[in-house]
């Protein structure tokens, strides 16, 4: 595969906080349009990993390239879905979805069209003038996901976005992400500690090792969509990943 097809290239990434080594020599590539899940034991540095990708924290050494250039949130279109519901409380649903595009100073017609598209895709039109606190947590997370996809991001980073949700909401929002990804097409890095979620969503799963984290294995999930979490193949993948996390 030629270099050009990689959206993200991570080379020998290291990050330490003082003497605490969190990331150690992580190297991997993510293809354009790929949906990658990153799993690993709790506290292994998954969030640090994402924060470094978005330049919210500086890496100690190593480099992250997006489209062959060092990652830079002002230049690249990165979207981030945080662990906590992070809709902006003083903006309505519609204004929240517009928010990122307006920061990027896109032309108004483009924003209007894009936002309209997202709102209708996510069936949010009923709530467009409501404020986040008037909605449920899952609806708020939906806004955040909509806001992220509205950016037409080069890279969409999701940090355990469904960690706090009950199982029904989670399934529903997972399908929503898959649907948006299939329709709008963007590169997604999705962090989770839920193995089932990873196998359900990803084209490829990266397994991180215990701290200091490095990439332990990369597994391509070759299952048709929509995926059946009770199928034999699905369970095999899941069991394998769980074993990998358990036996380091």
């Amino acid at each position: 595969m030629s270099e050009k097809e990689y959206k993200v290239e991570v080379k020998n990434l290291c990050k330490s906080f003082g003497t605490l080594e969190v990331l150690k020599d992580c190297s991997f590539n993510i293809k354009r349009g790929e949906f990658v899940c990153v799993v690993g034991p709790t506290g292994c540095g998954k969030t640090t990993f994402l924060n470094t990708l978005t330049c919210l924290t500086e890496p100690t050494s190593g480099e992250i390239l997006v489209d062959g250039e060092p990652a830079n949130p002002e230049k690249h279109n990165l979207s981030f879905v945080f662990q906590e519901p992070s809709a902006v409380p003083w903006l309505t649903v519609e204004q929240n979805i517009r928010f990122g595009l307006e920061i990027k100073k896109k032309p108004k017609e483009y924003i209007d069209e894009r936002v309209e598209n997202i709102i209708s895709m996510m069936a949010l039109s009923k709530y467009r003038d409501r404020y986040p606190h008037e909605l449920s947590t899952s609806a708020e997370q939906k806004i955040v996901i909509g806001r992220a996809f509205a950016m037409n991001p080069d890279l969409l980073l999701m940090d355990e976005p469904y960690g706090q949700m009950d199982i029904k909401t989670r399934f529903y929002l997972e399908d929503e992400v898959v649907r948006l990804w299939e329709t709008l097409g963007c590169t997604i890095v999705f962090i989770t500690h839920n193995v089932e979620e990873a196998v359900y969503l990803a084209e490829r799963v990266l397994i991180l090792s215990q701290k200091p984290a490095s990439i332990k294995e990369s597994i391509a999930i070759d299952l048709p969509r929509p995926r059946d979490i009770a199928s034999k193949k699905f369970i095999e993948y899941r069991t394998h990943i769980v074993d990998m996390i358990k036996w380091w």
Binding site: S79, F82, T92, F99, K104, H133
Partner: protein, 264 residues
């Protein structure tokens, strides 16, 4: 668990209870006042006399000025001091919370000036500006400025981390961050500061009017004291109460209008 049938918010009893209880408290207060007044041991006028005076006073003149001029003068003083303080204090507080260099330069000075009570400025201000309206407004300004600056500063420094991260992850530049994240997030705190400032403002206003003035509500209270006209002094107090309440409701309204996301 049994709920009190009176407190079920659908019942008529509930609404009745709430209307009656606040009225009842007011009536009780007036009765106690009346009893104290007619006992004869105090100089206190009865509530009825006071209310009558409150109504008829609008047709009379006190030291050659109609009542409306006194009230208007007080409002003008406090409002003009507030406007200047808001125009100066909010940008100052925000700059102190937002910019490290600005904070390093101005915070020590500000923290030193802040604890000086506004009234302590009287000699200096009188020396520089004489007596009249300008020095009075400057002193009220010193009082209302402090809570506005302190709250704007606190609001800006306490913007939730998550909101900042959202802005940063979208690549917001410094000014976008200030106007799209930091200011809306601190608006509530800034408002609280202005509210506190209004309270302080009334205090300083009254003090300054009681010390030396030819008009204003504070002057009326002083006038009542000097002429053993307790009714007049109490009328002044009632007016401050009413005006304070009107200001508070006005600010509630303004805040709901400016921060629609806080409406529940």
């Amino acid at each position: 668990m049994k709920t009190n049938p009176l407190l079920k918010n659908t019942s008529i009893g509930y609404k009745f209870f709430y209307y009656i209880s606040s009225t009842f408290a007011l009536i009780l207060f007036l009765i106690l006042w009346h009893i104290t007044a007619i006992s004869g041991k105090t100089m206190l006028p009865t509530p009825a006399d006071t209310i009558w005076r409150l109504i008829t006073i609008w047709g009379t003149e006190i030291s050659n000025q109609p009542m409306i001029a006194h009230v208007g003068m007080s409002i003008w003083r406090i409002v003009s001091a507030l406007i200047v303080a808001v125009l100066f204090g909010i940008p100052f507080g925000v700059a102190m919370g937002w910019n490290k260099t600005f904070r390093a330069v101005f915070k020590p000075i500000f923290e030193t000036i802040r604890p000086v009570p506004p009234i302590a400025w009287v000699p200096l201000v009188t020396l520089w500006f004489g007596t009249g309206e300008i020095p009075r407004i400057i002193i009220i300004f010193m009082g209302v400025l402090m809570p506005i600056v302190v709250n704007s500063y606190a609001g800006v420094s306490m913007v939730p981390r998550l909101n900042i991260d959202v802005g940063r992850s979208f690549g917001a530049k410094s000014l976008d961050m200030l106007f799209d994240i930091v200011l809306p997030s601190s608006l509530g705190a800034i408002f609280a500061g202005v509210r506190t400032a209004v309270g302080t403002g009334w205090m300083v206003l009254l003090a300054s009017e009681m010390l030396a003035a030819k008009s204003g509500i504070g002057f009326l209270i002083m006038q009542g004291t000097n002429n053993s006209d307790l009714e007049l002094a109490i009328v002044g107090m009632v007016m401050i109460g009413v005006m304070g309440a009107l200001f508070a409701y006005g600010f509630d309204y303004l805040e709901r209008w400016l921060c629609p996301w806080k409406r529940s």
